[in-house]
């Protein structure tokens, strides 16, 4: 029971974090500077945006819930079980982020989701 509560906490916080992160990174535009100064400058700009801060808060919740999950369950259960977020996020990517999710990508996501269920 504790393991499944932790799985739920990981999934909800991961979905929120990923969607917010994706919105903000798309607004930022393609990252093209990978030297120390450029990375610092881009991170400073990103961490002034509330969605990025909220995404990191979600990631922190996800991290601690996942670490606790690893203490009570096998990694080969924990990782695929928490990947239930994939299905929810693909739907949200289509609805909220207006991504073009074609038949190949839907099929790919569906196969991954089925594989995850079998792994769990």
């Amino acid at each position: 029971m504790k393991a499944w509560l932790l799985v739920a906490a990981v999934v909800v916080s991961t979905v929120l974090s990923d969607v917010l992160q994706s919105i903000e990174m798309k607004r930022h535009g393609e990252v093209v500077e990978f030297h120390a100064h450029g990375i610092r400058r881009q991170l400073a700009a990103l961490f002034r945006r509330w969605r990025v801060i909220a995404a990191f808060a979600g990631m922190a919740v996800s991290f601690f819930a996942f670490a606790e999950l690893l203490a009570v369950a096998d990694i080969s259960f924990a990782v695929p079980a928490t990947a239930a977020s994939l299905a929810v996020e693909t739907v949200l990517a289509r609805l909220l982020l207006k991504e073009h999710v074609g038949s190949r990508r839907w099929a790919g996501a569906l196969l991954v989701a089925c594989g995850v269920v079998l792994l769990a």
Partner: protein, 134 residues
């Protein structure tokens, strides 16, 4: 409507996918080693384990590499493509942590590889509105 990615974006995308997958898989593995062999039972005792710190370092790399990847690639592309990490997790769980991986889990692994290959064949970015720099 077809979205044709340029070769540069493809190469950059696959490089970042590799970094995202490997840092996540090995980060999770080290974190798991640390959590399974606790140095202390205290609330934040996990932070006394060096395995946990190595795991966190890799997961920090994973976070920033994934953020960069999401700056040009769709979330609905990144999710299935980086799922190949589940397969590596299953392999390493068996090899290093001696976890049981039965036929059901191997079939799941096969489906994930197929799904990753299908999604990976699509264009990484379908929403670019010109904000992307060359």
């Amino acid at each position: 409507m077809r979205f044709v990615p340029d070769a540069r974006l493809r190469r950059k995308t696959w490089l970042f996918v590799a970094v995202v997958v490997l840092s996540n898989v090995f980060g999770n593995l080290l974190l798991s080693l640390g959590m399974k062999n606790p140095v202390s039972k205290a609330l934040l005792g996990m932070f006394l384990s060096p395995w946990v710190w190595f795991g966190i370092a890799l997961l920090v790399l994973w976070t920033f590499a994934r953020m960069a990847l999401l700056s040009w690639a769709d979330l609905s592309y990144v999710l299935p493509v980086t799922s190949v990490g589940f397969v590596l997790n299953a392999f390493l769980g068996k090899l290093i942590l001696n976890e049981h991986v039965g036929p059901r889990r191997w079939l799941g692994t096969l489906l994930i590889v197929a799904g990753t290959a299908l999604a990976g064949a699509t264009a990484p970015d379908t929403t670019s509105n010109g904000s992307r720099r060359p």
